[in-house]
Symmetry: D2
Subunit: 349 residues, 4 copies
């Protein structure tokens, strides 16, 4: 368990470096009998492709996913689903310049400290490209979640400190950053609708704790909040508590959703509201101070085109990680009550 | 794995309900040969005791910890360390009133939805009392961490929206909340000094991802951030990147620590900076709207004295979870390089 | 995960040393709503108590189990069930003689090599007393399994090389061993009836692989086999294959059960047949050659009364481990098919 | 965790079906800096190839392994090593006849009961072909183990009930089985030399318990034993106990190795001795009784050539699983003592 796996029942393991032969993911524990084709996955992968906005890099990636196992005659079989995406656009030579220099804000230095070796080409394992495997797994999870009425809405919440709804201001921030050879951070919001009450476990595997790990594990994310999150720290209890009310059909509802759909670590049936803070793209075209692998002080200029913000490409990754986490909790939760277990297998007492 | 365990090598499992006979924790994987006595644990447990500030409830808890296993002649033996704290102050009758009502902001409703049954006395498993087990385990982790020069500083960062350093303003907020039968949230900051570079694994078990799970798993926490966190989302790359510099001894240092000590999910040797957003105490003395277990609309008044804020009692829990997580990553990291493994066991080629 | 936990959904963690204050087990993931009282557990614990046969040691143990958490008003709540048994019969002084000597066939030497320290009193963590926690957990598992019509039959299969059904021969072997200050091994057979088809996962978590770990983890067990086991290695395929036949109701049955109820790692609905080989009790009253902790050659005589065979006390432990493993696989298996997941949560497409 | 992963630190995940596009394995947690090339893996994979003895099927498999990630400039980087082997020899049409019939001794029926669907081509996931991924991972583990002086010797122990050393008798058994359109089982023995004392954890993750899971998880294995194993059940304690003796250099040795190198679940520095009982090949050319997928009684004849015994091809799989298990325990064990942890990170008290 060196950290490349996530999930307990719906367990994903990603592998691959930015400039190796391929990247991929193995999904172990996907329930059998789900209709699944490469197109189901490709559609979500295409959402993370560069070149979809003028604020994302132009590297041409086909990202064509190949299903290598676990699907037979168009249905999942319950065995591991191995998904692979061949890497194409190799210009490893471009990276020779940064082979011996630690880029600020990147993982170059820390990988060397941990492993004594690093695949420096394009960021290697710490490249954003690793997230393609997550997105592919998320597409599979969403396919099953949709059958149970669960849907995802993800959007930029703010970019460079301005609300994403103010599109003109966002555009101005991004253009200014580009002009200054700089970048900006932003916040992504993901809302999950239709999640049943009762998911997540008390204590360490609370629904919010597992979502926090899932989302914070995305490379550039530096903060995660659920519902009102950090704002709740400024609020009073009388504001923050969501009053329960029964509707005419006797169903329990909440008058508000400051909790973001999770109480005591367990989903309450309301929308799950997640926000992730992305730091500004660390690769910027400005000259920066740094050190070499030999621990000499150097100045560094990172060539190539860089995204002025990671927010747009990060959205689908946030959604994918939320989907994987929620499906995993749903599969886990089926055995929470003895009466459900007995009903499933039949009472033979 | 129903969520009561945390950690991979230094693995803790907490158990117990607020008003059951006892609560406790089992630590599996504590290295052998560490000096350990009950007093080492008690000192940290006492920091979470109520009645330490006038803003924390007066329930008298002895919280006297008993070591039941894993320690022999004053040293850990490598086998599971079982720690137990007997519960004392039982007035279960007090809780009969809320047996059939779901308190807003609490886990009453969600536990019933998940399990169909709940120990309603004092919040049962979702009580803050569960955190005593975490703190006891954190004390053991810190004992070993201290031997390696790693230390923890935890403090309130803000309370009710005002900076904690402005003590007069904080006091005013708390007094106002008490007067209004209300509560306020706050932010806790924990800084860990002396952590070596190289901890944490790429991808899902990033140091920040595991800390995020650890901290978000504390009952009232609704947000977690590392380093500049959410503020980084408003910054530019040129501000947020920490320039590397070599000092005269050739050691790599950073000119700033916006990253909070973690780059690409791996520690960089700087201080680790964690902030946790606590929601306001959900138990307030005001009348609130809610529903009964039978899904009827009711009004509810929660009797007893309540903490106007959880921040003071939450601090030691944040520190404990950080300690457990960091020690666990240190133990995990020892096998990261083949050369270290070969040196440990001896090269016999 | 230092090896004191077993199971994925129904996960047990044992703790405690033979002569520490107490031993116990924490069960995390027991489904909620199961009727459970201390008597349910005590009855199974009593089956492993010494003094039940004249071939088991006379140490008086009360082994009175205490439920510390996870049960409320007579039902499991879904939260961890902590079970504790206080140790009573402490004569630590008796063990001073072996403090510095490694008993042949015991774990004294290997614990010292691993940890550099060992609780030598009564075998410490490697004492058979650790199995009380397993048996307590097994009693909880069996309580739920019985509700689904699953039952266990465990018996001695052979003792000292003679078939257990030949009671006179067994008695002769045991009496001879006692007379010679020696001990004998034996084989325990456990048959589980009523197990549904479909349990276990392909590849590493095959039903037989998990049972093999479970049973081999019992201290004195040196071999595990399923169905015909080692005998199958001498058989032909035409003998060993169990022919399938449909009965009049169209149910699939097998004409034989050489496979011991497991095909391809998945249960087939037949009885599960497990056999465990127990080595002879390593503590014998004869003088033995050994080394001291200081690596000097010594002769050693282990005082006290010793069981001439472990088989009788091991039976209930085999049963308990089988129960824990099978229940765990049942809980895991509920999410194997997409249609079952969708039915559980409701198709809302 | 649907059973396709094994190991805690050196964790392998296999994927793939016999007649899908490819099969493979992801190794997460291999220490960085190990020299590794495809040839290192291919040499071990070639040992499981068919056609190496006249008693193994002639299906031509290239089994050419491709390293897709985790290796850079000839060295492991600490990130996941993804290994893939394309499937070649597809004659899926051949399998149409058994699409609707459950072969005795195979997993056809149990997969259908578990998943409601199965890739019937060549056994799908339950094919022996899955073991190629295990062998590839085993080759990586052995590469590192060899650097620490650990070596493996695997051999047939008996075939069809006769000792493997009696080659003429074995040949007669196999020829007779072929003539009768039948098959025979056998026992494989694996001896591991150079393993340090101290590996394995007490209780559930004993060295023998983890080896038992590892070996029993190989498709046709029905029994596992360590050291004297089942024979120990017939022995007396005075025979079975291995006397300790100190040699002239003060090193602890054992006068015998009935324990097979493991005492109390922890390695004692002696050779580890493992035996695995393989059942006879279930695919035989004789007519057999069975049922159809529609639960009708049928007779079945399995076409094609079948191995008269699995023993020869199973040997390298036993070795590979032993290697993976032992390396995993070595990585785990590095954090067993506080003094080792403190020395690794430096005492800064």
């Amino acid at each position: 368990m060196a950290g490349s796996s996530f999930g307990k029942k719906f367990r994903i393991t990603t592998w691959g470096e930015s400039h190796g032969p391929a990247i991929g993911v193995v999904i172990d524990g996907c329930p059998a009998g789900l209709d699944l084709a490469e197109a189901d996955i490709q559609i979500m992968l295409d959402r993370r492709k560069p070149g979809q906005s003028r604020y994302a890099t132009a590297r041409s990636e086909d990202d064509a996913v190949e299903i290598l196992s676990g699907v037979f005659e168009g249905k999942t079989t319950g065995t591991p689903i191995s998904l692979m995406i061949r890497n194409r656009d190799h210009h490893s030579a471009d990276y020779a310049a940064i082979r011996d220099v630690y880029r600020p804000g990147h993982a170059d230095y820390t990988f060397d400290e941990k492993y004594g070796i690093r695949d420096y080409r394009g960021g290697g394992r710490s490249s954003g490209r690793e997230t393609a495997g997550r997105v592919a797994a998320g597409a599979v999870a969403e396919k099953l979640l949709r059958e149970m009425g669960i849907s995802f809405a993800v959007r930029p919440f703010s970019i460079g400190g301005v609300a994403a709804v103010d599109e003109a201001a966002v555009k101005a921030r991004l253009e200014a950053a580009i002009k200054d050879c700089d970048s900006v951070g932003g916040i992504v919001e993901c809302i999950v609708t239709g999640v049943p009450a009762g998911l997540g476990d008390p204590v360490f595997d609370k629904a919010d704790a597992r979502l926090a790990q899932a989302i914070m594990s995305i490379g550039a994310v530096k903060g995660v909040e659920i519902g009102d999150g950090f704002a709740a720290a400024s609020h009073r209890g009388s504001e923050n508590n969501d009053a329960f009310r029964a509707d005419e059909a006797g169903r329990v509802t909440k008058q508000a959703n400051h909790a973001g759909g999770i109480l005591g670590g367990i989903t309450d049936g309301s929308d799950i509201v997640i926000r992730a803070a992305f730091k500004p793209t660390p690769s910027i075209a400005q000259e920066q101070e740094s050190v070499s692998r030999q621990h000499e002080n150097v100045t560094l200029t990172i060539g190539g085109r860089h995204d002025p913000t990671i927010v747009h490409r990060g959205m689908v990754v946030v959604e994918a990680m939320a989907a994987v986490t929620i499906l995993d909790m749903m599969l886990e939760n089926m055995a929470s009550r003895a009466e459900h277990v007995i009903r499933f297998y039949g009472n033979k007492k």
